[in-house]
Symmetry: C2
Subunit: 245 residues, 2 copies
């Protein structure tokens, strides 16, 4: 393994940060590395809101379900999918630009994710820790209002960046055979893979908690499919002019 | 800049590959590095179809609009957002799992992208070249049929991997100020940024073609908003049980 691949293998989310601030030079280097990621048709369909206003950070702690590290991290960014800027550009060149397609919603969301992941690698290569905050979609309308997001722009996730004040283990992943298939999607082995990974995760939780937490993958996913569904997303996006057609 | 950040800065899409095949060890190392990316709530909502059947590769060349490198690359993967596996896991633990939410569509699409980008970094760190193939969404129903994708699974993009047989320049990006905002989304400077970047890209195209290609960013985006809209995506996803509610 070369050092870059080794670095990728060391990833884990950091939720406790020291008070050390990230220098503006390093912060900028991380952002510029993010911009180097592939972008569909050169759209660069992203805008990042750097939330430096601590009052806003505290509101975001609440809106994301009480995730204190949103305020404690040296820096917090809200990654927005942005089809407004490229649409305006296309109109400049005379396009009667169609907006609000599901395709645009997906393209912009993927563009955002590719950029963010490049930033994460750059940040971790400099000893920083990060945590993606999907909880930004708990209250996307409130987040959009707080940050004055216009139509055709939506908050996909947040990202905490800072110097780690904890050193958690990396978390197991499904065996490669479970997620990689050749030429065809086959489902026959899904149950076996799920059960096998349940056993892996049960062991992981027991070991981490000295036998106090008995859970597994399936049990951990349970609430995601019932109580934490973010059923508002469809209506929210529609109101913001995304994914309409 | 450390070597990892330097590597990120060197990214460009590769569309011409040598005949050298990627060894199975390296291919596996790249995939495993991909799995180390952050995954929302540990969902790992992705399945990768490794297309080794050359007849299928040729069909995919056609379906993606004649992109020959889909067949020529050493390896070609179709990255699928997969909510089927985690849904089954949740049901195992007794959840009356709701499926087809827009939130799930977005979560899975982002999961796929984070994993893919980690793979891209790992691949490039070993001297491989890659090209994302968004054209997989030109004909998502046909691609799904070709690869036997079940409901709750959709092809987000493809990825060519191989040894580069070309050395294209990196492509300019918007200035950082255009995509980074502090605390609020402000639109006042959008036009100026678009015009500035149009000038950058005009210069880039002229220099690359010895004055033969006069274009700019806005002009390049024009067709994306008119003829190549992939307006089928909404209906396609609905049929596959994704983004319904």
């Amino acid at each position: 393994m070369n050092p870059t691949i080794e670095l990728l293998h060391q990833h884990r989310s950091i939720r406790k940060f020291t008070h050390q601030r990230i220098s503006s030079d390093l912060f900028e280097a991380v952002l510029r590395a993010g911009q180097c990621a592939a972008t569909s048709s050169h759209l660069q369909a992203y805008t990042l809101i750097h939330v430096t206003d601590m009052a806003k950070r505290e509101v975001l702690v609440e809106l994301t379900g009480g995730q204190k590290y949103v305020a404690d991290a040296s820096d917090f960014l809200v990654f927005c999918a942005d089809m407004k800027r490229p649409s305006e550009a296309a109109r400049n060149s005379g396009a009667d630009a169609v907006s609000g397609t599901t395709e645009q919603l997906l393209v912009a969301s993927v563009d955002v994710a590719l950029m963010a992941q490049n930033m994460v690698i750059a940040a971790e290569s400099e000893g920083l820790g990060v945590c993606y905050i999907g909880g930004i979609r708990n209250a996307p309308a409130e987040v959009s209002e707080l940050l004055n997001l216009p139509d055709q722009v939506y908050p996909v996730f947040g990202l905490c960046l800072g110097y780690p004040d904890q050193n958690p283990e990396t978390k197991p992943r499904m065996p490669l055979e479970a997620i990689l298939k050749e030429n065809n999607y086959t489902s026959a082995d899904t149950q076996a893979h799920v059960e096998g990974f349940d056993a892996t995760m049960e062991e992981y939780y027991l070991a981490r908690t000295e036998g106090n937490k008995s859970s597994n993958w399936s049990k951990q996913l349970h609430p995601l499919f019932t109580t934490r569904l973010r059923l508002h997303m469809k209506e929210f996006l529609k109101k913001r002019g995304l994914g309409i057609r």
